[in-house]
Symmetry: none
Subunit: 271 residues, 2 copies
C-alpha cells in the first residue's frame, strides 16, 4: 500500500470513525432506555436494533484502532507504514448486522408466522450472499476486472432484497394502519438511499485515480452509511413499534393513559 | 505547532479535562438513577440528557488522551512534539450533543406535536450549521481573516437559535404553570451565559498574543462551558420534568404520596 495522507485527509477519516463510535454508543443507550415505552409484544424489533448498534460499536472501536495503528505521523503527513488497515472488520460487522437489520423490519410488522419465517430465511440468505460476494472484490486490485465482477455478483442479491422489500412486502402491508404504512414506506426509502452509499464507496477506488482521495471517500462513505443504516434505521423501527403499541392500547407501567399533547395542535394559537 | 507550555499551564488543561470526565461520568450515573422519579411520559427529555453526557464522556476520554500524547515533558516544560492535538473531537461532540440539548428543552415542554416537530427541525438545522461553519475557522491561522469570517458566519445560526428560544418559544410558554415557566426562564439564561463562553474561547487565539496562554484559555474555556451546558443544563431539565410530573400527580412506584417535607414550612418555628 504505502499510502500517504495529508493531516486533513487522515483526520477526516479518524474523526468520522470516532463520530460513528459516539453515535453507536448513544444509540445503544437510547434503545435500552426507551424499551419500556413499547408493548412487550413489539420489543423483539427493538432488541434486534440494540444488538445491531452494539455489534457495530465493537467493530468501530476495532476499525478506529486499526486505522490509527496503520499510519505514522512523519514530517506533517501520515504515512501508512504499520500493520495494514483491516477492512475485514466491516465485512464481519455486516455479516452479522445486515441480516439483523432486515429482521428488524420483518419482525416489527407482525405478519403471519409463515410469512415471517419465509421472509426471514430468504432475506438472511440474500444478505449473506451479498456480503460474501462483495468481499473478494473489496480486497482485489482497484483497477482489476475481478473487482468489477465480484461487485456485479454482489449486486444480484442486493436487487433481490429490494424486490422483496418493495414488491413482495408491499402486498403484505394492507393490514397495517395508515400511520404504520407511512412509516414503513419511509423506512424502505431510507434503505434504498443509505444502502446505495455502500456500492458508491465500493467503486470509489476504481473511479477515483488519486489513491489517497479514494481511500478517504471510501472510509467516510462507509461510516456515514453505517450511521444512517443502523441508528437512524433503528429509530424508525422504534417509531413503528411505538405506533403499533399505541394502536394496541398499550400504556407504560406507571403512566396515565392521557394524551401527550396538552395544548391544541392549532399553531395559530401559538403565534 | 511546536507549542511549549510551562508545567502549570499544561497541568491546568490536563486537570480541567480530567475534571470534565468526572463531571460527565457522575452526571451519567445521576440521570440513570433519578429516571424513575419522573413520570414515564416526561422521561424522553431525561433520556436525551443521558445521551448527551454519555457522548461527552466518551469524547473527553479521547480529548484527554490526545492532549497527553501531544506533549513530552522535557527539562521541566511540556513540549508539543507528538501527534498534533485533535481539536476535531470537540466539533464531532457538539455535532451530536448540541441538537440533543436543544431537543431536551423542546421535548420537556410537551408542546403540540406540530409545534414540537417544527421547532426540532429548525433548531437541529441551525445547530448543525453553527458547528460546521465554526470548524474551518477553528483550524485556520489565529490571525487570519478566514478565522474571523467563519466565526461571524457561525454566529448567524447561533443568533437564530437565541431568537427561537427567547422570542418564538416565549409565546408558547403561556400554558405552562408558573413554576415551570420560571424554570424554563432560568434555563434560557443559562444557555445564553454558557453558550457565550464558546465564542470567547474561539476568539482567544486571535486576541491573546501569547500562543501558550491562548491555548490554555481556549481549552479551559471550552471545558468549563461543556460542564455548564451539559450536566448543569440536564439537571435543570430534570427539575422541569420533575415539576411537571408532580403537577400530573405522578407518584413513584412504591412511594407513598405524602409530602417530602416533614417539618413545618414556617421557618420562625425552627429558630
Amino acid at each position: 500500500m504505502d499510502l500517504t495522507l495529508s493531516e486533513n485527509q487522515y483526520n477526516l477519516v479518524y474523526n468520522s470513525l470516532s463520530f460513528v463510535i459516539a453515535a453507536m454508543g448513544a444509540a445503544l443507550i437510547f434503545f435500552l432506555l426507551v424499551r419500556s415505552r413499547v408493548a412487550p409484544r413489539h420489543r423483539m424489533a427493538l432488541t434486534l436494533s440494540t444488538l445491531v448498534v452494539a455489534i457495530a460499536l465493537y467493530h468501530y472501536f476495532r476499525i478506529f484502532d486499526s486505522w490509527s495503528a496503520a499510519f505514522s505521523y512523519v514530517g506533517g503527513e501520515y504515512v501508512q507504514d504499520g500493520e495494514p488497515f483491516n477492512e475485514g472488520y466491516r465485512y464481519v460487522d455486516w455479516l452479522l448486522t445486515v441480516p439483523l437489520l432486515l429482521a428488524e423490519l420483518v419482525v416489527v410488522l407482525k405478519l403471519s408466522k409463515g410469512k415471517t419465517r419465509s421472509l426471514l430465511i430468504r432475506l438472511t440468505i440474500a444478505a449473506i450472499a451479498m456480503i460474501l460476494l462483495g468481499w473478494p472484490g473489496e480486497v482485489a486490485d482497484p483497477d482489476s476486472t475481478a473487482r468489477t465482477i465480484w461487485g456485479v455478483a454482489s449486486t444480484i442479491p442486493f436487487l433481490y432484497i429490494l424486490y422483496v422489500l418493495f414488491i413482495e412486502l408491499g402486498r403484505s402491508l394492507d393490514r397495517q394502519s395508515a400511520g404504520v404504512r407511512k412509516l414503513v414506506d419511509g423506512l424502505r426509502y431510507i434503505i434504498l438511499a443509505t444502502w446505495g452509499v455502500y456500492p458508491l464507496a465500493y467503486i470509489a477506488p476504481s473511479v477515483i485515480d488519486n489513491e489517497a482521495t479514494a481511500e478517504v471517500v471510501r472510509q467516510v462513505g462507509y461510516s456515514v452509511a453505517d450511521v444512517l443504516a443502523k441508528p437512524l434505521f433503528g429509530i424508525l423501527i422504534f417509531a413503528i413499534a411505538l405506533a403499533k403499541s399505541r394502536e394496541d392500547g398499550y400504556v407504560m407501567p406507571g403512566d396515565t393513559p392521557q394524551e401527550d399533547t396538552q395544548v391544541p395542535d392549532d399553531v395559530s394559537e401559538l403565534t
